[in-house]
Symmetry: none
Subunit: 226 residues, 4 copies
DNA sequence: GATGAATGAGTTTTCATTCAT
DNA sequence: AATGAATGAAAACTCATTCAT
């Protein structure tokens, strides 16, 4: 399995070293689930595998999660939160809604290149857990709205805009993760999405390229091919 | 379960009544699988259910499909082909690539309204079987290319365009099928997708509305709520 | 089914009453498998029968053995080890290699008379699991080698000697178990095997008869017919 | 799969070209069964595989054999008869019982070297079909008896002698087929068996080597290793 | 809280056999 | 005689979940 990019590694790990033991165990289990889901897909993953990966037993796993669906949901939420937290600094440095939207797109697309297995797992989990898209969608919605206020985005419906952004990015992630995408796929997708939101072609392309600088590694990843 | 729209019913049924027996059985099994997948989701569906739904035994099912993945793939391909066949007449009446792309989008989005269960099954199956998107993607690619030749579409990469079209439409279908979408969602999505492909906002909206007339029932369906 | 001779009963039972639970379950399953294999033949035995015979469920059985072949192998090894353990005292009392070889032959041949079903099961299992003959063969090889050192056995190849001993004894067991053998078949086979190893006819016969005394019940068993 | 030695190829084929059609089909099916059993083992072979290998359908197979056991038995008998027929000329040229016994041993052991898969199949089938050993045993018994009359063999029991001969040879075949036997294993086994029947060591060895000349290819096969 | 053995219902899959054509 | 599609009972194996320790 492709190693998780530094950007995400230890997503579920305690930030405060003095976390309560129960919480530490819980996070270790989520971390293990992420690893197992990434390598086998979540449908094929078993509770015993997750427990074993965490160095624990199924009993302990069930002490923390009542059912398999629960740990899947926990994984989805953990991923969504971590993604936001890790990018919040960079996000705050951008004041234009269009740039924020673009950064979000590039971010996820970049991760698909860095960790294809992880990306496929994410798509898997997202499809199974509505909570995931709701969480992520809330941020996207805020950024889109900001762009509308700033007159850079012009849309008929926010829901449609979200479907455009999330749908295109997820499909783009799949193409990249499966090795079907040409170089600079992330930038191409991002620029198209911006155009779809009403940004003229040239600025759209420029913004897509500009925010790439805020993504660790930039566009480089896409150039290496697979 | 929502009944299949007349448009799709009997997708897998023999056109020639004197089809070979083996072929008739095969189509009956695919038809049964569509029904079972629609009502339970394909992951939850069992081979026994499919066989029973077709009025046959698991043995017969395995006589035709070596594994569960095989019948899922057969279903995916059958759906993709039927969708194309059923809309080929209307499609042929449109000479502009942009209109053809728009019609494809509206078509799938309209079906999500007509048969939410069927749409969710389709999304499920599409995620599991690359064959589906490959089949559909070939048509979309041809239409996009035509639009490019006609200077109405301007893109950097065909693959990215496909991801935009298919990703947005699939996400839109999900919103519609889950009842999360406002009225006229299909048209909104379609117009945005066209903009993403480089069509200016106003023509995009006009095209989206225009091709709706080619979809049975038009935009009306979206207004009825769920 | 012929009851197991006292000599072998409970082969797989714990010697120490305070064995770990997992180990106790494992031995109970092996014991059950021996019983089922003996009454139905191992090819016809099902995992459910074995589990039921042990008063457990298939899940538990699979918890301990990954596949049917695994429990067959475990049975084979358990039998081979038990046979050696149970006869080790008597074996140690014999210093001549030829006597030890003879005793081994008589032992298995005697058991075929005592428990025909058990013997047929053993032959079945031996054919399916190389581990059995490897385990038993190691002892035979040591005894043959000892006989060679003592200049009572003279052979060209150890492997050939093992094939002679094991092949003849197994075929003899089959004849006896199927009720096709005349009285004193075990002694006749044993004497011939010794001759094959280079022991002159008269001593061979004497040794075969002598070691019979070390087998519980002696040659008597063969006279009762079936 | 190792090809069948020329010696056995087409064992089941019609000798008279004008055989009735039913008989020709039957022999073709037996031939196909031999091939399938050799490559997969008879327990793992399916009726559909056998039919397909013969270029026919299961229906036809069942027209000729009422059950799987029946075709297994037919295969066993066909093999036994062919083996005898093919060696009858050479056998008739030997007047001493010991030589005939030796030739029979060498023959089967040589085949194990030439066609390991075929040999393992034979052992498989022999274990399942008593008729096989009965057929072969009748010839061995006659040769042993001849040797007794000629005062070259001295045994206590014919049944025991048969167990010695057949058991040792079958075990030897297994060793050879599995690649566990050293060079000249066939000769070593044969010589030992003769000793077991009362032939002194030196003549036993000489006879074993002599009859090897009557086997196509002679001892050469054993030297090549595997 | 953790353990880990046991559970057992549920699934996929296999294949000998039948039978209408 | 041959076909080959259909059968269906049975088997192996899985895994989420429970619970006594």
């Amino acid at each position: 399995m492709t190693p998780l990019p530094r950007f995400l590694a230890g997503a579920a790990e305690p930030e405060r070293p003095r976390l309560r033991k129960r919480e530490r165990t819980r996070l270790a289990l989520i971390d293990a689930a992420v690893r197992v889901f990434s390598s086998r897909g979540f449908a094929a993953a078993t509770m015993q595998e997750i427990a074993a990966e965490a160095g624990m037993t199924t009993g302990t796993l069930y002490n923390h999660f009542d059912a398999k669906a629960d740990i899947v949901a926990a994984v989805a939420i953990a991923i969504a939160q971590t993604m936001q937290e890790r990018s919040s600094a960079r996000r705050d440095s951008l004041s234009r809604g269009v740039e924020r939207v673009a950064m979000g797109c590039q971010h996820y697309l970049w991760l698909a290149k860095q960790s294809p297995d992880w990306a496929l797992m994410l798509l898997d989990v997202a499809a199974a857990t509505p909570a995931f898209l709701e969480t992520v969608g809330a941020y996207v919605r805020a950024d889109v709205r900001r762009g509308v206020r700033q007159k850079e985005i012009e849309i008929e419906s926010e829901t449609a805009a979200l479907d455009l952004v999330c749908g295109s990015v997820m499909q783009g992630m799949r193409s990249i993760a499966l090795g079907l995408a040409p170089p600079r796929h992330g930038t191409a997708i991002t620029a198209m999405v911006l155009r779809g939101l009403g940004v003229p072609a040239e600025p759209a392309r420029k913004i897509a390229r500009k925010v790439l600088a805020t993504v660790p590694g930039g566009d480089a990843g896409y150039r290496r091919g697979r």
